[in-house]
Symmetry: C2
Subunit: 233 residues, 2 copies
């Protein structure tokens, strides 16, 4: 098990970045939080490019502006786990005290806002609204992680995949379909399954007419109720 994952292009020079000072971030969750725009740097990453690696100094955190990012941990023997996928508006990277224990990579081409820790701490101390916002983000992450613990610890392959599809469609606010920008391998590593099992479950859902798949990365819900029922058992 645990075959090759897409190999990263480590060409750091390809990062196109620029001060985001004057720009206005188009992302729902950023409304009214122009403060972080002032202390952040906008960066672009290409597909499969590394944003930070395990072992890096964790001197900043990030906010996704567009695209998809995966947070993962890789073991020497090839086992990988993706703790979360981040989409526009999601924050990531405030997990580390010192060294990063996880790495972050772009799943698709992505733009992120990079926020240095020092400036953030200063902002926390002088802006209670921002401080509360950040605390909220951390709580949300914690909450998400704990739901995932249940999923990994106590749910079957079918339930995991159904829950994943429903969760993604809710996060993207699309009730009738869901886009899966990541590979089957990414999904498997997120759900604690193998690629084959993910495929088989999806095929099973198609056979049972719960979903339809115009292509491998777009799923349309034919029976959302049933899917939700499976997800919540």
């Amino acid at each position: 098990m645990y075959r090759q994952h897409a190999n990263l292009s480590l060409d750091a020079a390809s990062q196109v970045w620029q001060q985001a000072s004057a720009e206005i971030v188009r992302s729902g969750q950023l409304d009214g939080l122009i403060a972080i725009e002032r202390i952040g740097t906008r960066m672009r990453f290409f597909r499969d490019q590394e944003i930070y690696a395990e072992g890096d100094q964790g001197t900043c955190w990030f906010k996704v502006i567009s695209g998809t990012v995966r947070i993962s941990k890789l073991l020497a023997d090839g086992r990988r786990h993706i703790t979360e996928f981040c989409f526009a508006g999601d924050s990531f990277g405030f997990d580390a005290f010192e060294e990063r224990v996880f790495s972050a990579e772009a799943v698709t081409d992505a733009t992120v806002l990079r926020l240095p820790r020092g400036a953030t701490e200063r902002l926390i101390e002088e802006d209670p609204v921002f401080a509360r916002h950040l605390r909220g983000e951390m709580l949300r992450s914690l909450d998400a992680a704990q739901h995932r613990l249940f999923l990994l610890g106590r749910m079957t392959a079918c339930e995991r995949v159904a829950a994943f599809l429903v969760e993604l469609s809710e996060r993207h606010d699309t009730r009738h379909r869901v886009d899966l920008p990541m590979s089957r391998c990414d999904i498997a590593d997120h759900l604690g399954l193998t690629v084959e099992t993910v495929c088989r479950v999806l095929s099973d859902f198609k056979r049972r007419r719960l979903i339809a798949a115009p292509n491998a990365h777009r799923m349309e819900f034919l029976d959302r109720e049933a899917l939700t029922a499976i997800a919540e058992h």
Copy 2:
């Protein structure tokens, strides 16, 4: 699978609690944080007693003074998952925005400090040292949860049990042994396994002379290196 769990004695009247105003909390991690003593209420809970339930209003968070607490989620069909065990010095219960999604129960008789949210927010705003401490606690929780994600998603039964033993002994700073105040069922529900599997793995470790068990709730390490190696694979 998923048989009966210890049934809770819901006798709320049996809670013995008292203002902790003048008392000094004996717990390493509380050093220099007398501030929270002032806003907290000390409470005692007996074995298996509920501290809060799923669906309660999350108007406060807690800090364990002595004893062991488990944070868990129970599904209608009996499947349960224990997200974490908390020992003296650990904080818990700041996961909720509104309603609690998890419940907390005493694993052994336990004393906890109950901290109302309102007073905490005020303290956060006037005491930056305390604010930073609390942020640290949250990050620690997040970090722990993410390690557990890997454990549940990608580790074998042996690796999970070994990791659990090593982790507990590290948290209690006892290199040669570890106390397991919780039942095998609790351990299983924490590691995403069944009671039987936990037993079998422990028996296997005994047979391989990695551990010895004077009784069911005390394990002595005979070969800590090997155990750590299994845990980290």
